[in-house]
């Protein structure tokens, strides 16, 4: 089987199809080990959420990336409050902040240098 050499590895559609078929067979074999005597349409087919009801809007269950470091955000809440307040969404404010920081660095460089 001759693949297309891209310089970043080989792309061979037949090899990839065979790989996916192999994975599919393994997945089906693992699935066949599961019990089939469960009650369809009962609570046994619904997700376990620590006993809580599954909300109609499943996106409400979405775990965002910042949930992983909520402790840091909570610990630095005083800082985050100020920084968030500075984020007005107005482009002019960001440019003003940029110019301000640039001016500060310039002054520091002149002062130290």
């Amino acid at each position: 089987m001759n693949g297309i050499s891209s310089g970043f590895g080989a792309w061979n559609p037949i090899a990839w199809t065979l790989l996916f078929l192999g994975i599919l067979v393994v997945a089906l074999v693992v699935r066949s080990f599961g019990r089939k005597d469960y009650k369809r349409g009962s609570g046994q087919t619904r997700a376990f959420l620590s006993g809580n009801e599954e909300p109609a809007d499943r996106s409400a269950l979405h775990v965002r990336g910042d949930h992983l470091y909520w402790g840091m955000i909570d610990g630095l809440s005083a800082y985050y409050r100020r920084v968030k307040a500075m984020h007005t969404g107005v482009f002019n404010d960001y440019v003003a902040a940029f110019v301000g920081v640039l001016a500060l660095i310039f002054v520091l460089l002149v002062w130290v240098g």
Partner: protein, 145 residues
Amino acid sequence: MALPRSFKRALWVFHIATGSCNGCDIEIVAALTPRYDVERFGIMLTGTPRHADVLLITGPVTKPMLPRLKRIYEQTPDPKAVVVVGGCGSTGGVFYDSYNVVGPIDEVIPVDVYVPGCPSRPEAIIDGVVKAVTKLETLEKSGVN
């Protein structure tokens, strides 16, 4: 009623505290420590009722826990055994007339075994789980659904 093969090999237990003071919960944890080591019998705690054979419940049923207990019971695959640990789950205990308590566990879901004690000793908890399994095996042999 036929018990699945996995039921006979190892018992997976899901622990629910429906309003306990945590005394019984600590005793359940003690049953897992090297002193009692229930895992040598294949009894182990699982993190989801979807994988459980036995529900181990402590405490009286408080109002916020009522729908959750019913939901967890529904989500546990059949056949399942329900073991209530401690006096509060069995009778309501000292919380029997509390404004926030619905009642003992058997007022909400069917219970197979009651383990007395305040808190129950780890030996009694292990005995209760074994009794629940024995009950299911007896039902299986007698052909009761």
